[in-house]
Symmetry: D2
Subunit: 257 residues, 4 copies
């Protein structure tokens, strides 16, 4: 990879794809070499020498795109949803074959990220790290009232990660004397309560509350618009080349040591 | 009533009563003239010329105390729970008889307040006043995890007051696209969602969120300890004498014009 | 005024004016009858029978527009800045002449509002009402980092209103043991501390903190985008007709009784 | 060290010392074997076989106590203030001599912690880790109005850590268009703005705000009372034995991997 990273955007005409094209063009050290849309073939020719392909397409197309980009020798950053264990497994195998015989630390990398929002990813990561040190933990997610599901996927993931951390640390159930009144919007995710607020004017927000006797730690994250995903996408583009194999989750390319 | 207000405290040995005695003794313009406890008679002699009697006793005793204090010619401030329409009605009748024939604006007054916390009462009052101007409104109450009921009585009252204000203003149901996920701690109070957080380290807190397209108003109230009730108790003691008849709720003696 | 209120928008091609046109067209009971722009004459003919003229023009034009609209028999709602005591005085005199001889409660009205954000106006109003009941009060305003002035005008007004309420209630200086460290962004406005945060990602937000021993009341307001001004503009259009004379500040047409 | 950790508390009659004695006695796997106060000698005899000595004494005594406890073969946890480079250096040398020749991972340990509040330490640590990923960062600290210094030491440390992380990541100055209004309580610490709120009713709180275009991450920490330090003290007692040498800061014994 040269000093300048050459980037191809798949799904370049979509909302996220178009924003990614603009962000790549504005970024130091990155060069946009291809905009690929629905109907276009993905191969070495259309990728135009890209070091990294960024996929913001649709669930039905994303896996095939990743295999094609790998065949063309590009690292891949994936923001499209719809991945499951089976499709991730096939990409892992592809990467093992492709990277076979290369020195450790070299080879092609694929990063699949369900969320490119740095504040969202950091909030979830910090909450999971802190959870083992607190007696109580609850999650409040707040969204615009047109969102159909409750609680949000992000809040469910956060709560599940907190629950896992508590189990690993040997913590038992949280203190809770209530016996009635459990009919609010939200859910109990593996023993962690998630409250879902729906309010006109809001976009996407998450608040994690952690409590011990005499103290509280609150980690809050606000996503005001889609622009907030671009720093995470650019970070992924810059980091994917130095992480051979499959990586799932932006938190794994953040330097939090 | 002379310039200095003479105060008798009923239930003077209890936690709230003892704090009230101390607060009265420390306040300008107030004089503690009697401490009355369980077993003591409440009459003109034991009230010792008090202008105002403050009752922090028990549900079984409070109504009789109020009638006795009125018979002795004292105004009464009541912080004890357990009042219902019937007992409030009997006090109203007693006040009408006692004040019959007095000039308007004079006569004995009784103030029954379920909550003396200024921040709590103001939060509830402001939320109800603001509610008609917002498309969405939700309530989050946060308490220590040893509290048995959920949501709290204060949060239920707040939500009911918001619902009433919306109805009076002709607002319909709030926007809410969710169809699943309604198993969190809390309740739907007259169409207003109340979320109940239980977290070690917290005491008693309430947050009211009001939203329109592009804007949010949040009113939050924190009660960290019982000391927070004293400014409200002293205010009630100072104001009850100028409000003949029965007043329910500290908000009615606040000057919010 | 008929059941439907006919509205003319002055400055219809500007950002606020265009939003107002769209909001009026979408609102029940309002009819957009004229869009007037820079260069157009403001008179009975161009106002096209409007009951209410809304002025979102420029400081150099706004006063003349108001006089012209009054001459044409329209009520006026003004969102343009640049008004001072002298220009407001001339509008008051014009209104007195115009309304001379009309029955009380009738006559032309002008409403000049520096801020149409309901959450902003309510936050400021509630803070001023609550201030007399708290020992401490501070203001934190948070804006995007391209804003040049600090603290914001809204925060200055809020702090000044809090200071005025404290003075009227006979409260002295707030407790503050600090002697060093007063070099942060913000100001001391009449004894009320205003802290100014500048953070990429934010738009316009204000938080008022009020404290007594053991309790806190926090009133927070978030303006995420300009859409948030439209409910306030529409409210002003609906109310100005029933308030003859000059009214300054949207809070004076809110029903907070 | 046996399964049960034997603990001696130095400064056992002080506020923090007394709380530590109670917390040790209530904790699983810990045994309180000595309470040592001002005037008592610190040696193998008075330490009574303690595995860990906890020092909550006074700046004038703490260093000598640490050397004496090391001479008696105990690990030491220090919560007393007043340490500087010189005194820390002498303890480091003492530990090197004492641990000379022991296998790696064994030997005596000393943990000096300026702050045992888990929420405070985690807030500071997470803020420093996150700082490199955000364009803007500011700190708001909130305390009771009897606190003399502003901003607080914790907030200064947090801001300095954020500034260091930004420098290491090659970030430049934060965006800030303001030119006037820098007279609020607080400070500019290495380019990071710290705002200091003083409000009756509060205890000790810190909020770190991190912003990018379209998103915000807020890390907030509340210390409501001294009880909140005990989980951190107990954690230090349990961990110090497995960290030979000198460790400064509770964050270094937290498992945040």
């Amino acid at each position: 990879m040269t000093d300048t990273i050459r980037v191809a955007v798949l799904g370049a005409a979509g909302r996220m794809g178009a924003q990614t094209c603009a962000a790549v063009e504005a970024a130091d050290g990155l060069e946009l070499v291809a905009r690929i849309d629905a109907g276009d073939t993905v191969d070495a020719s259309t990728l135009a020498g890209a070091d990294v392909a960024v996929d913001f397409t649709v669930p039905a197309a994303t896996e095939a795109n990743v295999h094609a980009a790998l065949d063309a020798g590009a690292h891949v950053v994936v923001g499209t949803t719809g991945w499951d264990d089976a499709s991730r497994g096939r990409v892992s195998e592809h990467l093992e074959r492709a990277n076979d015989g290369r020195p450790a630390g070299e080879g092609l990398g694929v990063l699949i990220a369900p969320n490119f929002g740095l504040s969202a990813v950091l909030a979830m990561t910090f909450a999971a790290k802190a959870a083992r040190y607190f007696e109580s933990a609850e999650v409040v997610e707040l969204h615009h009232p047109d969102k159909i599901d409750a609680p949000s996927g992000t809040a469910r993931h956060t709560a599940a990660a907190i629950a896992r951390a508590r189990t690993e640390a040997g913590l038992g159930a949280m203190p809770d004397a209530t016996e009635t009144g459990h009919e609010a919007r939200g859910a109990d995710v593996d023993g962690v309560r998630v409250h879902a607020v729906r309010l006109r004017g809001l976009v996407a927000h998450e608040e994690i509350l952690l409590g011990n006797a005499g103290e509280q730690l609150v980690i809050r994250q606000d996503s005001f618009d889609r622009a907030s995903f671009m720093p995470g996408v650019l970070l992924a583009v810059r980091e994917v080349g130095s992480r051979p194999g499959l990586t799932v989750g932006l938190e794994n390319v953040l330097d939090l040591g």
